[in-house]
């Protein structure tokens, strides 16, 4: 599926989207003082993300990198891809970053999510925070990730290959997502160690299964 970024000023978008196109030179980003959020189809860069939050008043920079795992509950994942509602996702990322910047007295915060196919083992998200002292940076980094996983309008699809088909993951319950294809997928209901991270951040999704 093509990414959800509408082509700008375009009258016939569907005709122009024959396939998902990696738009290497077209990151979508918002920055304001001390805050940077972005969605990109490119590889993520630690250095440039860290440099976004670097400050002479900071004594600590903490970076979190989320990488794509090769299995879900032992079911081998062949590859993953991410799609987003870009304008809304960026707005939500900005809201989260503003809140955490203030709450933890940070000097800077940057949150960058990769879209499109992300090969196994590569970074899908980077979050960097800087603060005068390390404790606030550790806490803020963790909280930023949890908030992101609970709220940001980005979706991960895992392809199992062969008869496994693919599923859209849902962070909120760590359970297997909605099947894309007919084939059976071992009903691997259980705890994904990382995927349960975003649980319950948003109550209005309705009841959890």
């Amino acid at each position: 599926m093509a990414t959800q970024q509408p082509t700008q000023g375009d009258e016939h978008p569907r005709a122009q989207q024959p396939q998902p196109q990696p738009q290497s030179s077209d990151p979508t980003e918002i920055s304001e003082p001390s805050i940077y959020v972005a969605l990109t189809h490119d590889h993520l860069s630690y250095q440039s993300t860290i440099d976004r939050v670097r400050s002479p008043e900071a004594g600590a920079i903490v970076v979190f990198a989320g990488t794509t795992r090769n299995n879900f509950n032992s079911l081998p994942v062949q590859h993953l891809s991410y799609t987003s509602y870009a304008p809304l996702a960026l707005r939500t990322m900005l809201t989260i970053c503003r809140s955490i910047l203030t709450k933890h007295g940070l000097k800077g915060i940057a949150m960058v999510h990769r879209l499109g196919v992300v090969p196994i083992g590569e970074e899908s998200i980077l979050i960097a925070v800087s603060s005068p002292h390390r404790q606030a940076a550790w806490r803020a980094g963790e909280e930023a990730l949890e908030e992101c996983k609970a709220k940001v309008e980005v979706w991960k699809r895992e392809e199992f290959g062969g008869e496994g088909g693919g599923v859209w993951r849902a962070n909120r319950d760590g359970a297997i997502g909605v099947k894309v294809d007919e084939p059976r997928i071992g009903e691997g209901k259980g705890k994904g160690d990382e995927d349960e991270g975003g649980n319950g951040g948003r109550k209005d999704y309705g009841e959890e299964k």
Partner: protein
């Protein structure tokens, strides 16, 4: 950074993740105005089973703001009932999975 303009008398409905898989579409234009509480019924008519599979677990935005989805039987408070207007951008937001 807005979606392509819908035809006159229509609004855009965007589908993401499982909503996109179920409908086979990323987006489509539907006739406006449409009371918000009739949105899910309208979609269920077009895409049988989408309510249970997708909509019951999803949120809805209108022009990038989340809206509360009233029940289709809810006749109370019709005066302030939300109505989707021509030109609006509405989106079905399944449970997210960033990170």
């Amino acid at each position: 950074m807005s979606a392509p303009k819908p035809p006159k008398g229509h609004f855009n409905l965007l589908y993401f993740a499982s909503a996109s898989s179920h409908t086979g579409k990323d987006m489509e234009a539907l006739p406006a105005p449409l009371p918000l509480r009739k949105l899910f019924d309208t979609l269920e008519e077009r895409y049988q089973g989408i309510r249970a599979t997708v909509l019951d677990h999803s949120l809805v935005t209108i022009n990038l703001s989340y809206v509360d989805m009233p029940s289709s039987e809810d006749k109370d408070g019709e005066d302030n009932a939300v109505v989707i207007q021509e030109g609006d951008e509405v989106a079905i937001i399944p449970p997210v999975s960033s990170g």
